[in-house]
Symmetry: C4
Amino acid sequence: MSGSTGSDGAGGDMTGSALAVTVPADLAQISPADERAADPAWDDAVAAIIRAGWRMDQRGWVPATAGNLSVRLADGRIAVTRSGGHKGFLTPDGVIEVTADGRPVVPGQRPSAETFLHCQIYEHFPDAGAVLHGHSVASTVLSMIATDSAIHLEDYEVLKVFEGQTTHKTRLAVPIFANDQNIPRLSRSVALYLDEMKAGYVIRGHGVYVWGPDMDTALARLEGLEFLLSCEAERRRLVSTTASRDVT
Amino acid sequence: MSGSTGSDGAGGDMTGSALAVTVPADLAQISPADERAADPAWDDAVAAIIRAGWRMDQRGWVPATAGNLSVRLADGRIAVTRSGGHKGFLTPDGVIEVTADGRPVVPGQRPSAETFLHCQIYEHFPDAGAVLHGHSVASTVLSMIATDSAIHLEDYEVLKVFEGQTTHKTRLAVPIFANDQNIPRLSRSVALYLDEMKAGYVIRGHGVYVWGPDMDTALARLEGLEFLLSCEAERRRLVSTTASRDVT
Amino acid sequence: MSGSTGSDGAGGDMTGSALAVTVPADLAQISPADERAADPAWDDAVAAIIRAGWRMDQRGWVPATAGNLSVRLADGRIAVTRSGGHKGFLTPDGVIEVTADGRPVVPGQRPSAETFLHCQIYEHFPDAGAVLHGHSVASTVLSMIATDSAIHLEDYEVLKVFEGQTTHKTRLAVPIFANDQNIPRLSRSVALYLDEMKAGYVIRGHGVYVWGPDMDTALARLEGLEFLLSCEAERRRLVSTTASRDVT
Amino acid sequence: MSGSTGSDGAGGDMTGSALAVTVPADLAQISPADERAADPAWDDAVAAIIRAGWRMDQRGWVPATAGNLSVRLADGRIAVTRSGGHKGFLTPDGVIEVTADGRPVVPGQRPSAETFLHCQIYEHFPDAGAVLHGHSVASTVLSMIATDSAIHLEDYEVLKVFEGQTTHKTRLAVPIFANDQNIPRLSRSVALYLDEMKAGYVIRGHGVYVWGPDMDTALARLEGLEFLLSCEAERRRLVSTTASRDVT
């Protein structure tokens, strides 16, 4: 790996959740550092997004053209995936720059439809450096059958992956918002609860949003949240099973 | 990658669902461009089929010798997988040319048994450029237990991957046809509903058919449909669970 | 790939179920053809076993040190996996020769405990060329909860992968035998039913046995059987779900 | 592979459960034998941990920054994963040395939070050479819904992977301990039962601990235990299903 491999490079975080994703074999050739030597910070952001997309695809969280990923650079620029395209097979061309309010810097380029939700997170959390949005079976289905406005996660050791959590003896609410093709309207609903979200949020029948100070941390939180949602789904199946057996 | 890598090459679609599948390590050597330099369009079609088969196998949708894949070239030729053989480990030899009515161009070659269903789609939809047929656990089982003649998909964000869909607030019917070893007879049942199929169709206990203007789009729709069928199966398990708990 | 890569080599079967498994990256170096040039047929058998073990591990069918694999060469020699060792990471050293009644040709070598079940199949079916035994969650659990002495598979298109099957309109019985650490005794129970087994057999709480004229066909049948057992498990979960909903 | 690839190298165990994990492509370059030629035993331990972490990640057992892994060298030194960091993408820098009571040899380095549980196992079992702790959905959920203080595994062939087991006709208890952020206190509960644990133990809502004389054996036992927990979860779902069907 060269200096273009991004946030998991030299001087890495000793205390945090460094998640260095294995690079697809052809990443080196699609992202030649020498051609874009003028902008290594951008290259780093793009490489982090490509690898995170690859990882999310391995886990089945970006089916079809679903999902979107972004990074905010130290200088404030925002790199986000283009609209359309498969997030498991991104190339540098699939990542574009947008302004703080989500408009493409290069006129005519088209960012992911939900870019504004990424920008909202960056504006609200000054230390947010990466945002991930994925679609899993667990998040889709649990949000669609929920009778409450949140999924509650409790007593799991993995809850400690979220900001400020030091024990499994906690109960985190992952709020569920109604899906809405009108993204600005959806973002206004989200705005009311952003401060209380320790583990991200879910859009009903759609997927999760998580973030972190850097891509490694955002990916670790995404893995943690998806693991817990899978546990929650399995728990409901097995609890039902046990209950039925007691009854008969 | 050389110029033989097909539809995800230079000048790629900016707006559509470009799904560039990672190439198996030995694809370059099994498909040497120099030997077939006279027919790059055919090479592209073959490479697209090989990579799509590899992708479908990674997802578990082509067990044993199941599934078949085809591409219609710009000049109208149809490339389809041979009968038999594992679709996750295709080589260029595993793809042959058939006429518009499904007969092998080289006498004695044997195309997939369901080739006629591919041809039917190409004939009916002038802009169809790729057809995929896979066998997943979800499509097999949901079609076998269905009491209706279709699987209905509703309120999922991923529904937007299908042609003409712009919102999750929709309800798409994926028709289910009785399985039949007599493919011409089966195709006559399918013919009656082809115009209404936004998300492909299912043959009971057998699998799904999807298509698109090119292989990337067809693969994205296949991933979308399989994701939604997995959600639908999970939803039924969890809804039942919840119901049982309410009762006890 | 060199001439040592086995049964999917030149002159491959056009009509059958050729399943050419991708070679792990280090197979070339662990099986240098030049060192064993005197016995290419043995090398082919070993390579076929190594690749099949790798494939079975990808699917989760050889956990821990479970499973065993064998090939009968054209000259009658039998190559089988050693006792112990992980079947997903085999090397040529992990495959040894046994006699027709299952004894190691090199004194002191220890074949898999169930080698005798492989030999029984080779003796009973003169055209059997490969035998596979794997442990999946589906085969383990379905056999443990069965109230009948067989798992019945019916109406699935994939049933056509088994010998002599030309339609989904069939009902195949996969017999279940009680597990027994006394392999000769277990083999006597199996012997009574061998002629009727179109899709292999299951040992309760233990796993499946399948075979074919060559490794590609045996692997295709294993994939087919495991796919169908997964369908069967899912079907029972969903049918129960539907029934419960009707009741409430 | 060079001499730095560890416990599955030359002179390997013929009788035991050799599980040689495929090396990630970039392992050679991140662990250059020439730089640390002075300490090949340490290099071997680190390589074994890196590969085991990679394998556990492939199976989904180390989500986010969960899990920890250790090896005890022949000279008594203990190599363990650092606190934080993703266990599927370890580098040699992610493994540090601790004393027999779990303190870092290099002041300021921070071992995994549960290092003391590893040390407890090494102290109690003089022949233990590797300890693995992973988080799976099955172990997390089964331990959270258990009404008993152990998960009982019975009649499974794979039970033979555990120490001293020669038949499926056995019933092993995998004890469940309440999760506790106070690791010394948790270890005192574990201490009372260590001698009876043939198949490791589970911390509720947290994960499993397994060990063995070397990393290959520890990994085989981890795979065996996780396979059996997956079977147990599936069994409960299907038994419930069958019961419901009988009732209706």
